[in-house]
């Protein structure tokens, strides 16, 4: 039977934990707002970019650029794994790593060599523990505020290696932010660039978008300029999504932890009161017993 003092200590310990989880919840909430506004700010750029790119690709035709053409034999596959640097965000990183593992198994089964670039410490640690080849790692990016240059600098490396044939395919694994309580780990092919959606399908104007455009230099050259950037755009948006998801996941996890603390405090208070009551009863019995004995 726990003594009164023990229960009291336990209660105060749980209360302290609750303070921490609550604080973390609020920090995550404010970071989430920041990340979401960055995502909002990026949307016009990404949207316009996709519009222009789609119509250009349509004009220049398929196979106008090496980045669009799949390799004949695919041997070396590169995976860009986005995870967070810090833990305490529920199943967030586990899900991403599991997605990576699934993709990895799939590729290995086809006899392909797989290497990794890691954004975020949790994914890096996972890949290291499993003994996978890690080519590059970027820590301190996901979850913080980062600039577009992070995406373009890393993106340039992937493109170079793709062109030189070091990588035959590049995938990116990221967490899609579908709402506060929903973050889904997704895998997407980055290189070769999957067939572009043409802009006309999305526009209901009868005149095809950009059809009359004068392109300077040629449409092919413009495409050559834009495609690498579209890869950076993809990487940037994957990073943004993952960051936003991380904060949302942490917020939910910490909210649950705070609730669990409340439950525990409630239960412990009950135990404490019962123990106190029992002690009082025992004392009373003693006194009554003593008095009876004196009466003789």
């Amino acid at each position: 039977m726990a003594t009164l003092k023990d229960v009291q200590n336990k209660i105060s310990a749980v209360k302290k934990t609750k303070q921490i989880t609550k604080a973390m919840n609020m920090v995550a909430a404010s970071k989430l707002r920041g990340a979401q506004s960055t995502m909002e700010a990026f949307r016009p750029y990404a949207g316009k970019f996709a519009d222009v790119l789609g119509s250009l690709a349509d004009k220049a035709g398929e196979e106008a650029n090496p980045l669009l053409v799949p390799k004949e034999t695919v041997k070396n596959v590169h995976i860009i794994l986005n995870t967070s640097d810090k833990g305490l965000c529920g199943g967030f990183n586990t899900n991403l790593n599991a997605r990576a593992d699934a993709l990895l198994k799939e590729l290995k089964a086809e006899g392909k060599e797989v290497s990794f670039t890691n954004f975020g410490k949790k994914g890096r640690d996972w890949a290291r523990k499993k003994g996978h080849t890690i080519i590059d790692e970027y820590l301190g990016v996901v979850g913080s505020s980062f600039e577009f240059s992070v995406a373009s600098i890393s993106g340039r490396k992937f493109i170079e290696k793709f062109i030189f044939g070091t990588y035959d395919e590049v995938y990116v694994i990221y967490s899609e932010f579908q709402g506060m309580a929903r973050q889904v780990a997704k895998a997407k092919q980055l290189l070769p660039i999957p067939p572009l959606e043409t802009a006309e399908e999305t526009k209901d104007d009868n005149a095809p978008y950009l059809a009359e455009h004068i392109a300077e230099p040629s449409a092919e050259e413009l495409l050559g300029e834009m495609l690498p950037r579209s890869v950076y755009v993809q990487i940037y948006s994957a990073l943004l999504e993952t960051s936003t998801s991380e904060h949302a996941a942490r917020m939910t996890a910490m909210d649950n932890a705070t609730k669990a603390c409340n439950d525990m405090i409630e239960n412990l208070t009950l135990v404490y009161n019962k123990a106190r009551q029992a002690a009082i009863t025992a004392e009373l019995m003693d006194i009554v017993g003593g008095a009876e004995a004196l009466k003789g």
């Binding site: 700010a41 016009p44 316009k48 222009v52 009359e212 004068i214 230099p217 413009l222 300029e225 950037r229």
Partner: protein, 138 residues
């Protein structure tokens, strides 16, 4: 007085300009070009440089762009740049340090530095400064 044309300058971080202007002059890779309202649809790459425009009131304004794309439509010009700053937003001090750092790097001629990147940084810093400097002379 002709109608005004809409100018939008967007970067991944934010929308820098969104207003109706009289004329836009932008540094295309094939040469500088000006856009007035009613321009033929036109698409081009931009090089590092300055986008100039006259706002609705007729004041000339400058924006530093680090290269990107411009799309002109009869009633709208959209500029997609990786970074763009209004002249008044340029941090001259930061640009100057960046300039010095880039110069230093290039001067060292070490093997382990990324020459292309240092060059690009140097050019960006120089352009930023030159845009910032026009502020004083006006």
């Amino acid at each position: 007085m002709a109608e005004n044309i809409r100018l939008e300058v967007v970067t991944p971080q934010k929308s820098v300009v969104s207003e109706d202007v009289q004329i836009v002059v932008a540094p295309g890779t094939m040469g500088e070009f000006g856009v007035l309202v009613g321009h033929t649809p036109f698409l081009t790459t931009l090089k590092l440089g300055t986008v100039r425009y006259k706002d609705a009131g007729g004041t000339e304004r400058y924006i530093f762009v680090s290269g990107g794309f411009a799309e002109a439509l009869p009633d709208k010009v959209t500029i997609l740049a990786e970074s763009a700053e209004r002249r008044t937003d340029i941090d001259a001090e930061r640009a100057r340090t960046a300039l010095e750092r880039a110069q230093q790097r290039l001067a060292e001629k070490r093997d382990d530095i990324d020459f292309v990147r240092a060059r690009a940084a140097l050019e960006r810093a120089m352009h930023r400064l030159s845009v910032a400097e026009t502020r004083k002379t006006m």
